[in-house]
């Protein structure tokens, strides 16, 4: 089992590394650095003028609890395990313990950064930054440890009271964090430690039966985790074999008559439905347009608004690109007696419409607050990028990579 875990882990890390290199390509890193810098600057400005008020403690506790909920159990199990390793079910627990320990790694880094970022706020709250920061970090790590144990025993038939599950854990974490921020994080850490050790002694030592592993639920949760991960990668690069989910979204059928049902619109018919019903694209478009409108409402510098609006249009256009290739594996689509140029034209048309509508909706943010000038500039910047993207960049990209590879 140790060897199995090691080979699985090595293979997993190799693929992750491959994808991460594709995600963090040069221009994306540049955008991230700029955004990160702006965020840090904004944060430091905000902390400087901050007064300790009643909502600060629970708000910080809430943010840290949300941070705590990230990070799933990476079991790296495969569906075939349920058949081939069935006789080894009991010893598979050793494998899963290793998987749990590994799963603790990435959240630890994130939580440590979260604790470090809270240090300036501890100063505002009159808590000693050194001891406070360290105990706050320890508190978060101990809760994460407990969270991963809970995620692990979810797949086992472990006798336990109903309140030993993830949601009550987060409630407890929120309460301990709030208490810790009122007195000193060390008190919260003591609660976390008591819960964690209590769980290990009472539930794990007393009721854990390695033979009761539910393979199907383990596989289902691993598949869900990997799917979420790959869908994230898919925003930046092509993930082969990713079957993106679909939702019926019947209420969106009002948009379907926009494409006429004639042979010349065969591809437009398909792409419109792909955009509206595949899980990735519409959700992304809506999320970015809302975030963008809010951000633009807060910006009062005209050139910054134009820049941010243009950047947002570029981002959303870039992330619509995989839709163009969504049907490249579809045998029937290759056999249609329609000219190949129709597919390219249909996707270009869809992209142009989506980006122009996106640009116009963005201006609703500043308009709502009566910032006419900012709205005008943001709209102009966004429309310029939309036109450039659809009619210059997109044809260039589609020339480089055929829509239907041989």
């Amino acid at each position: 089992m140790r060897k199995l875990w090691q080979t699985r882990l090595r293979r997993h890390q190799k693929t992750q590394f491959k994808y991460l290199r594709l995600v963090f390509n040069d221009h994306f890193v540049l955008i991230l650095l700029i955004l990160f810098g702006a965020l840090l600057y904004g944060y430091s400005q905000w902390v400087r003028q901050l007064m300790p008020s009643w909502w600060l403690r629970p708000a910080l506790a809430l943010v840290l609890t949300a941070l705590l909920s990230f990070g799933r159990l990476a079991s790296l199990s495969e569906p075939a395990d349920a058949t081939f390793l069935l006789p080894q079910t009991s010893s598979f627990a050793q494998y899963l313990f290793k998987a749990r320990r590994y799963s603790l790694l990435l959240p630890s880094v994130v939580l440590a950064l979260g604790a470090a970022a809270s240090v300036p706020l501890l100063l505002v709250l009159n808590i000693d930054p050194l001891s406070g920061g360290i105990t706050l970090g320890a508190l978060l790590l101990i809760f994460k440890d407990l969270d991963l144990w809970l995620q692990l025993i979810e797949h086992y038939g472990v006798q336990r009271p109903a309140w030993v599950s993830r949601f009550p854990l987060f409630v407890a974490a929120f309460a301990s964090l709030t208490l810790g921020l009122f007195l000193h994080p060390a008190y919260g850490m003591i609660i976390a430690l008591a819960l964690d050790l209590g769980f290990r002694w009472v539930v794990l030592a007393g009721h854990f039966q390695p033979a009761t592993l539910d393979w199907l639920s383990l596989n289902a949760s691993e598949a869900k985790r990997m799917d979420r991960l790959y869908r994230f990668y898919n925003l930046f690069t092509d993930v082969p074999g990713l079957n993106s989910g679909v939702h019926r979204r019947k209420w969106l059928d009002i948009f379907l008559p926009l494409v006429r049902k004639t042979p010349a619109h065969t591809w437009a018919y398909l792409y419109l439905r792909g955009f509206l019903r595949q899980t990735t694209y519409l959700g992304l478009w809506v999320r970015l347009v809302i975030v963008g409108a809010v951000v633009l409402a807060l910006i009062q510098v005209w050139w910054l608004a134009a820049l941010v609006a243009g950047l947002l249009v570029y981002l959303v256009g870039f992330q619509l690109l995989p839709l163009a290739f969504a049907y490249s594996e579809m045998v029937m689509a290759r056999l249609y007696p329609v000219p190949a140029s129709q597919q390219r034209a249909a996707f270009q048309h869809l992209t142009a419409v989506l980006l122009v509508v996106f640009a116009l909706v963005l201006t609703a943010g500043p308009l709502a607050l009566g910032h006419w000038v900012v709205a005008l500039w943001a709209g102009a910047g966004a429309l310029l990028v939309a036109v450039l993207f659809a009619f210059w960049y997109l044809p260039y990209r589609l020339r480089k990579k055929p829509l239907m590879p041989a």
Partner: protein, 243 residues
Amino acid sequence: MTLTLEHVTGGYGNLQVLKDLNFTVEDGTIVGLIGLNGAGKSTTIKHIIGLLTPQKGQITIDGKTLAEDPDGYRQAIAYVPETPVLYSELTLREHLELTMMAYSLDKDEAWARAKDMLKKFRLDNKLDWFPAKFSKGMKQKVMIVAAFMTNAKLYIIDEPFTGLDPLAVHDLLDLVQAKKAAGASVLMSTHILATAQQYADQFVLLRSGQVRATGDMAHLREDFQLAADASLDAIYMAMTEEH
């Protein structure tokens, strides 16, 4: 409509699977494409429908290759793949609508034909379902309806019977014979030899990417020197025992 393969050699990239294939599918005939797993049946079909391009030789429909008249060539073919392939985000109704658009079918006529088949396959109350809710047999039926709704002159059916219930197999064979009666031709690959013997007029026997024998039953019996009542099964076994 006549489909002709002349000296077709091809495969995947550098891997050569088909070696110098020659056969024709004439108007109003049903041709059975028979061979072991890996003999090249599906590869032959992929070359005919244009998913793969022959390395040598040429494939013509009424004298025209795919390159000479892409839209006309594709318009002439209806294809039912071995494994059903459907768009996960389209309903059954939309699959049929899309097919009508792609093949420039007259909507009223095509829907009339489709409705009959949907009723036969007991799919007429599932027009608004997504493929995720269909069983494998139901998906196969959707592919059959989409293909037989068109005005194609050549029907290419890859392993049509796996996953279909016996009633659906009968209905499919009825459809095939109706199309034959209407003058279309059918190329059908299958392992169900008894059915093939009963329904097909001509056979193409493939072995290791080459045509071992073609012709009707009488011709095949003669070729393999078997008795006058020898079944296709006996001919098939005789072929596999040859070296």
